[in-house]
């Protein structure tokens, strides 16, 4: 009886709905396939030697050693870049919230941040390289850190900004009513409320920084040693993957897959960590 009412529009509904679920499955399966591919191909070559040693002689022809230089190098690069980005981002985010609110000017600032976000890292790399030539700086850890901080900056400010904007304004108004200045509100009330947001923003930016290859390609160089000074070149994990895959030796390529797995594990840990930390810290904010 019910069948009679199945008009064309109900069939269309069912078809579209099926296509939507299929598309959703496609996206989820893509993620699964990426992780599966990297794990299956990377795991066999992932040994303790890989993560505990720097490349030995003949490493790029299949002899012994690991990619510790790239792991440490990447941590230095992303760590330094994130630190600088944080120092610049925090005042911007706080100023946007406490002083600008939803004014016309804040819209321009947000627009400029979104535009910065959209600039590809290869352009940041070329830009960094042009500056290095101008001031006579060689490919080094320092240059890589500076360029990464530029790549990370818009991500960090926008992530903080999103959190701050959703914050209730009652607390601020209460503080202002008690006679606090706007600066005091920014430093004592907003910052504390923002803490989970700041932590998430830091981890997001760090994750982006550690995975970025195109910007450090020009600026950080590559070396088999662990950098001992800011002015020395440094290896990085994305480039380690890239260069090892570029060699014709299967053993080296295998280690390239293993390096990709190491990078993926770091990214997974960061995104899991940011979830846990922000859930935990959120308990201490006033809703």
């Amino acid at each position: 009886m019910i069948k009679k009412h199945w008009a064309r529009r109900h069939i269309a509904e069912a078809i579209v709905r099926g296509m939507m679920i299929a598309s959703f499955a496609l996206v989820a399966i893509s993620l699964g396939l990426i992780l599966w591919t990297v794990i299956v191909r990377g795991l066999p070559a992932l040994t303790w030697e890989m993560v505990s040693q720097t490349p030995q002689g003949g490493f790029y022809m299949g002899k012994g050693g690991g990619v510790l230089n790239a792991i440490i190098g990447s941590l230095y690069l992303a760590g330094g870049g994130t630190l600088i980005a944080l120092i610049v981002s925090l005042p911007i985010a706080l100023y946007l919230k406490t002083y600008l609110g939803d004014s016309e000017w804040s819209r321009y600032v947000r627009l400029s941040l979104d535009v910065l976000w959209g600039i590809p890292s290869i352009v940041y790399g070329a830009f960094g390289f042009a500056i290095m030539i101008a001031i006579g700086l060689r490919a080094s850890l320092l240059a890589g850190i500076i360029v990464l901080s530029l790549v990370e900056l818009p991500i960090m400010v926008r992530a903080m900004d999103e959190v701050i904007r959703r914050m209730p304004t009652d607390l601020e108004q209460a503080a202002l009513a008690l006679g606090s200045t706007k600066l005091e509100v920014a430093l004592n009330v907003v910052t504390r409320q923002m803490l989970p947001g700041i932590v998430t923003a830091i981890l997001l930016a760090f994750g982006r920084g550690i995975g970025d290859a195109a910007s450090v390609l020009f600026t950080a160089g590559y070396t088999d040693r662990i950098p001992t000074s800011l002015l020395r070149p440094t290896a990085s994990l994305p480039l380690a993957v890239f260069f090892q895959l570029g060699t014709p030796y299967p053993e080296v390529q295998m280690r390239g897959y293993a390096s990709a797995l190491i990078l993926t594990i770091i990214i997974l840990v960061i995104s899991l960590g940011s979830r846990l930390i922000s859930a935990r810290l959120n308990r201490y904010t006033v809703k």
């Binding site: 529009r9 109900h10 269309a12 509904e13 709905r17 939507m20 598309s23 959703f24 496609l26 996206v27 989820a28 993620l31 990426i34 591919t37 990297v38 191909r41 610049v88 005042p91 100023y95 939803d102 000017w105 819209r107 600032v109 947000r110 627009l111 400029s112 941040l113 979104d114 535009v115 910065l116 959209g118 600039i119 590809p120 290869i122 352009v123 790399g125 070329a126 830009f127 390289f129 042009a130 500056i131 818009p154 400010v157 997001l204 994750g207 982006r208 550690i210 995975g211 970025d212 290859a213 195109a214 390609l217 020009f218 993957v241 890239f242 895959l245 990709a260 993926t264 990214i267 995104s271």
Partner: protein
């Protein structure tokens, strides 16, 4: 106050510096010869960008065309149909897809997509679609525009989905309820009521995805073949602008004007991306603030 000027200042500074670095080659050759030049031989002083520009266009278009239909369907599904449970599964999936580094996408492309194109799609196309020029198979490997496009499609998916989802959320529920109350199905409501409300935002989201795809370097470089020839089929290799910059930064200081040419490539990329980004962000900003009003 001053600190909020920093992002704007940085954009202007990047553009100006790249223009200054590109200037030597712009004053040595007419812009028309650079852009439409077919031959790239820096040793002989020939800098024709056309094959690279076309390579970029082909890879980006294929990536966007592949990404858009499923992305729109997923955003619509998440916004109009899905339970809050499904949404809470979708968020980490999309976040993780966005967090995976480009080089890992490249590894995946190399291990999974290139062989899939070579052994799976190319033979099918050879058998059934060889009469259509853009599907003809002219080379034996899977390193192709199609492989680059598939990788790009997955890479830009999280961005496009989240932007479109956010825009869909600005449609007032009253409109949906009114439509459903007079007996329309959900899909009719979406097609006739929801989508027309947010069409500019959807287009802006797609443009944003395209601009992300334009600049993607490492992942595309690893699977697209890097042959400096104007492609005619999605199974042809291509050599996009970002790959050109990344592959040649090493030698660029030793040949005259080479560095200016590569900076010029970065400048072209930057200007196109800036235009795409500014327009789409303005549209999105306007639509998102309308909700609060």
């Amino acid at each position: 106050m001053v600190v909020t000027l920093f992002p704007l200042f940085l954009i202007v500074f990047i553009v100006l510096l790249l223009i200054v670095r590109t200037w030597p080659i712009l004053s040595a050759y007419p812009a028309k010869d650079l852009i439409f030049g077919m031959i790239w031989k820096p040793d002989n002083g020939k800098f024709g960008f056309w094959p690279f520009i076309m390579g970029t266009v082909w890879v980006t278009v294929v990536g966007v065309v592949l990404a858009v239909p499923p992305c729109l369907l997923v955003s619509l599904y998440l916004s109009e149909y899905a339970h809050s449970m499904t949404r809470s599964i979708a968020k980490p999936v999309l976040d993780l897809l966005a967090a995976i580094p480009p080089v890992v996408y490249g590894v995946w492309g190399l291990l999974a997509i290139v062989p899939f194109v070579e052994k799976g799609l190319a033979p099918i196309s050879k058998r059934w679609l060889s009469a259509i020029p853009i599907f003809s198979v002219n080379q034996p490997t899977g390193f192709s525009i199609l492989a680059g496009g598939i990788v790009l499609a997955v890479m830009i998916a999280p961005l496009v989905i989240s932007v479109v989802y956010e825009i869909l959320a600005t449609v007032p529920n009253d409109l949906r309820h009114a439509s459903l109350a007079v007996g329309a199905t959900k899909w009719q409501t979406i097609r006739r009521i929801v989508i027309p409300q947010v069409m500019p935002g959807i287009v802006a989201g797609i443009v944003l995805g395209a601009s992300r795809a334009l600049g993607e370097t490492i992942a595309v470089l690893m699977v697209v073949g890097n042959v400096a020839k104007v492609p005619t089929s999605i199974f042809d290799p291509a050599y996009p602008l970002p790959a050109l910059i990344a592959n040649n930064y090493g030698d660029m200081m030793s040949i005259p004007l080479y560095d200016a040419a590569l900076m010029g490539a970065a400048l072209v990329l930057l200007v196109v991306i800036l235009i795409f980004n500014i327009i789409s962000t303005l549209v999105l900003q306007r639509m998102l603030t309308r909700k609060q009003a």
